[in-house]
């Protein structure tokens, strides 16, 4: 069986007149190129991409932003928009040249024989139509079913994608469904035309890790049952590793490496793949520092003639300036690097790990940077206005009541000076609300919060700016956390003037010092945010935080929006700053691998409350709260573990009123019985000092 990204389209040789579709291959791309715009500013998003997919095979396409992976998905569906056009090469699907198709031919192909699942389930469904409507439409259109037959088929499809109550689902509107349900509905819609090939463009990126695991399970099952061929596009190597059997790595519009899944993760051959894998934090193999890939993507309007990765590659030599063909590096493996064979298993090296990591110890008696006690926040439920008749007095009086819920439910948390505490949980668990309550960006309803030993809810320390001098916040989205109308100088000078200590030097010098701290050159002073990359913007966000010289920094998903290699460099920076300045972090993330990497201790949050606290190193050993266990088991990982996975059904339950028993009882795979619903579980202590709230003993859970 041969299914590799092959070399023939590499050189500018004329492409043969015959469609190169080969026996047993469902899809063959031969030198496919896509260009955006025209003239000197045009950009070649895909450059002579050649790959092939055997019938029933699954190919993973991996790449960071700007690699061209989404362009590839759109190109294969004939959905290129605007000024983009296919610029050369061919795509042959089941013997048919896709780009020779008429619009009518495309209509019969798209949705019918090639199905597409988009990234964002939250916007891919029409909010004004029922699921039934959106599912039956392709059935009527593509398969010519009657309305009744289409509805029955839609029901069957929903059943197939694991919807427990298809009838309720059919009559529902999208807003009533959770993200995971929507994605299932979208997969059902993609299957409606009974396609032979399914293209999945980041299908799980917008979902929580437990939901992601469910969807990946579903895709695996569908593949086996339907003999579907799949192209799975993702930036997440771990996710790719779950579903596909062949991986193709894209860099700057070119295929740089292709190999069977097991081999590419165990022994990457192209330097870019090595760098990418080395910059991933891993649950199983913690390291003091992550590797990074320095430099930036080449300018695709005028890409280098030779290797596109050479400028960022530690192994680069003069010969890399010549155009690089794909070379065979083993059975079924190719790499676009002449040194690939010679390099062999040489690991990626970068300056990052040259500096030895400092040993981290947090003194047991270190004073707390943050001490929160019983912090609570209630929100009004949207549309939850209720009128009830108050009969407590002599005359019944109607009273308007708002239905409320506990977003944060009596949370107590301590972060010691110099310590990093990770806070994990699925979306909706209340972690962001808690973080904002801690510095009073949201006013908590109850509890006590002390920063550096001073109560910030009352007294003189309650002033907004006094809080800001002690505790600061790094935001998630570098695109929206900087004012687009301000230069870096303005963005950094303001907090210096407002909160900074008196320091020698002019304002410009002080701004420069901040830039130095986040390893940015002075050339950035007069940049606007749109003139910087995401990683650079996030560095400015961190510099802004440092201006106040805080002792405690809350990072709310601070690296979640970044590419893997950028994420690694930001994580290293945060770790360095912590060690240099003695900062304490509350590091919020949905990504357990990231938290495991940076945190000393980890707190796990569910439905507004913390269910487990323990040292980060304990995440690798058994004996956890069932929820933590489920989270750990859901993390897509490169290290294929044989252990069976633990799956959670459903989604995070709505934060509720009056939880009488265990918060996790309704989803817990280890539920004992009624006791879980009615009695608050006790705190248990497990190995390595992990503390969690469960009716099971630690020994029972570890066993």
């Amino acid at each position: 069986m041969r299914h590799t990204c092959s070399a023939p389209g590499d050189r500018d040789a004329p492409i043969s007149a015959q469609p190169p579709g080969r026996e047993g291959e469902i899809l063959t791309l031969d030198g496919l190129s896509v260009r955006y715009g025209s003239g000197p500013s045009s950009l070649r998003a895909l450059d002579k991409v050649s790959l092939s997919l055997p019938r029933g095979g699954a190919l993973g396409v991996v790449g960071e932003s700007g690699s061209g992976k989404s362009t590839l998905a759109m190109t294969l569906m004939g959905l290129l928009a605007g000024s983009a056009r296919v610029d050369g090469g061919r795509a042959v699907f089941e013997g048919e040249d896709l780009y020779a198709l008429s619009p009518a031919g495309w209509a019969g192909m798209r949705g019918r024989r090639i199905g597409l699942v988009f990234q964002d389930p939250f916007t891919a469904l029409n909010p004004a139509k029922t699921i039934a409507h959106q599912l039956t439409e392709p059935l009527v259109l593509h398969r010519g079913l009657s309305e009744t037959a289409a509805r029955a088929e839609a029901r069957r499809l929903l059943d197939e994608v694991g919807i427990s109550d298809p009838d309720a689902m059919l009559s529902a509107y999208p807003h009533a469904l959770s993200g995971g349900m929507k994605q299932r509905a979208l997969i059902a819609a993609a299957l409606a035309g009974d396609p032979d090939l399914l293209i999945l463009d980041e299908p799980t990126t917008a979902l929580d890790v437990t939901i992601e695991a469910q969807i990946l399970d579903l895709l695996e099952a569908l593949r086996a049952e339907r003999q579907l061929s799949m192209i799975f596009i993702s930036h997440n190597l771990g996710v790719i590793a779950r579903v596909v059997d062949e991986v193709c790595v894209l860099y700057a519009g070119q295929v740089v490496e292709t190999a069977p899944k097991a081999e590419i993760f165990a022994a990457p051959r192209h330097p870019y793949t090595k760098g990418l894998l080395a910059s991933m934090p891993r649950l199983g193999a913690p390291r003091a520092r992550l590797e990074t890939i320095p430099g930036r993507l080449p300018d695709l309007t005028n890409p280098p003639e030779g290797c596109r990765f050479a400028a960022r590659c530690p192994f680069a030599e003069d010969r890399c300036a010549a155009p690089q063909p794909m070379v065979s590096v083993g059975p079924g493996r190719e790499s676009r690097c002449w040194k690939a064979v010679a390099l062999g298993a040489t690991p990626w090296t970068s300056a990052e790990t040259a500096a030895p990591a400092r040993a981290r110890t947090v003194a047991a008696d270190a004073p707390p940077a943050l001490r929160a006690d019983g912090v609570s926040k209630r929100f009004r439920r949207a549309g939850g206005v209720r009128v009830r008749i108050d009969r407590s007095g002599a005359i019944p009086v109607p009273r308007i009541g708002h239905s409320t819920f506990n977003a944060v439910d009596a949370v107590s948390l301590t972060v010691k000076a110099g310590e990093t505490v990770g806070l994990v949980g699925e979306s909706g668990c209340g972690k962001s609300t808690l973080a904002r309550c801690l510095i009073r960006l949201i006013e908590p309803d109850g509890g006590a919060i002390a920063l550096n030993g001073r109560d910030i809810l009352k007294g003189r320390a309650a002033d907004r700016r006094t809080i800001a001098r002690t505790a600061q916040f790094v935001f998630q989205n570098p695109d929206s956390s900087l004012n687009p109308r301000k230069t870096v100088r303005q963005i950094l000078a303001r907090p210096l003037a407002l909160l900074g200590e008196e320091r020698p030097g002019t304002m410009d010098q002080r701004v420069e010092r901040l830039l130095d701290m986040v390893r940015l050159s002075r050339a950035y002073m007069d940049r606007y945010p749109h003139e910087m990359s995401g990683g650079e913007k996030q560095r400015i966000g961190i510099a802004r935080v440092l201006a106040a010289e805080p002792k405690f920094v809350i990072c709310d998903e601070a690296v979640s929006a970044l590419d893997v290699s950028v994420q690694a460099s930001i994580l290293n920076l945060l770790a360095d700053l912590r060690d240099e300045l003695g900062l304490a972090y509350l590091f919020i993330s949905h990504d357990l691998s990231v938290v495991r990497h940076i945190a000393d201790r980890v707190a796990v949050m569910y439905r507004g409350g913390i269910v487990e606290v323990g040292p980060a190193s304990a995440l690798g050993t058994p004996g956890h709260h069932p929820y933590t266990e489920a989270l750990l088991s859901a993390v897509p990982s490169l290290d294929s573990r044989g252990a069976e996975r633990m799956r959670l059904a459903g989604t995070v339950s709505a934060p509720g009123d009056g939880i009488t028993g265990c918060r996790f009882a309704d989803r817990c795979p280890r539920k004992i019985g009624p006791v879980c619903d009615t009695q608050a579980p006790p705190w248990r202590t497990g190995p390595e000092g992990v503390r969690f709230e469960c009716h099971h003993t630690a020994d029972a859970l570890a066993g």
Partner: protein, 292 residues
């Protein structure tokens, strides 16, 4: 996913920083054109070829000629002189009314969009009430109780347009208020006024400027309607709007009476829009870089 570039930046040479771009062409032409219109209006205010109110009964409805370049109206008054003399009144009407609507509407919109809650309810319900009254009625209501005066009618027109500006500003503010840089400003203890006017407002300008350029046009026309009802400019003085209204009955007989001020109005409107567009481009660092 944001991008694939990593920086170990201090070491890496940063790509060349942006150069200061010249003004966008639209702004250059808009500014020059508006300057010319203002000069025209200033000259008209002090000197005209003929007295703007001088009647020549023998030359009623005279077609454009060497004496009367743009012809005469039904009283034999020189149309060019009247267009020149009316220019400053029309421009004043447009500019002052727009200024009032922005000065009142933008802060209210910012407050409604940023603070939400009770303040938003009060402002937006008041705006709803205002919008439910037809503009002319509202103008009449404001002016009926006082003596006619161009300041008052311009002010009235400005107030009539306040609801539109409030709604627009509130919409933009709602969107901007959800951005993380606003939360960052609150986290460092900025005062509310700073967040409203230094963080939000500069980002809210683009749609407001576009709307304001349109408002100038509508204000000139609405001002004319009020003048026509005897509530604004008093005869024999006349602004462009009033001239168009007065010339309309004679459109088939002597089209120049309405066409001359009409053309003056259209040219002014185009120039103002050009200016507004250029200003928007100039103020936006993202467009500024791409521009030229």
């Amino acid at each position: 996913m944001v991008d694939a570039t990593t920086a170990t930046p201090a070491a890496t040479a940063a790509p060349p920083a942006r150069r200061r771009r010249p003004w966008p062409a639209t702004l250059v032409w808009g500014t020059a054109g508006i300057a010319a219109v203002l000069a025209f209006a200033l000259v008209g205010a002090v000197w005209t070829p003929h007295p703007y109110d001088g009647m020549n009964i023998s030359a009623r409805f005279a077609a454009p000629s060497a004496t009367y370049w743009l012809g005469t109206d039904e009283f034999g008054r020189d149309v060019l002189s009247r267009v020149m003399a009316g220019a400053h009144l029309s421009l004043f009407m447009g500019a002052f009314a727009t200024f009032i609507s922005l000065a009142v509407g933008v802060p209210l919109g910012l407050i409604a969009g940023y603070f939400r809650g009770l303040r938003e309810e009060v402002i937006m319900r008041a705006v709803d009430v205002m919008i439910s009254i037809p503009p002319i009625m509202l103008g009449l209501l404001i002016l009926a109780v006082t003596t006619p005066d161009i300041w008052k009618s311009a002010g009235a027109v400005g107030l009539i347009y306040v609801p539109i500006i409030v709604r627009l500003t509130r919409g933009v503010t709602l969107e901007l208020g959800a951005q993380e840089f606003i939360e960052a400003a609150r986290a460092r203890g900025e005062r509310d006024w700073y967040i409203l006017f230094v963080e939000i407002l500069p980002n809210a300008w683009p749609p407001i400027i576009v709307e304001a350029a349109l408002r100038v046009t509508f204000a000139i026309l609405l001002g004319a309607a009020l003048s026509f009802l005897g509530l604004g400019v008093q005869p024999p003085a006349s602004d462009w709007g009033l001239m168009i209204a007065e010339g309309r009955p004679f459109l088939s007989q002597a089209p120049w009476i309405a066409i001359a001020p009409g053309v003056a109005l259209v040219v002014t409107v185009i120039l103002i829009n050009l200016f507004g567009d250029g200003l928007r481009e100039r103020l936006d660092p993202r467009l500024r870089q791409k521009g030229a």
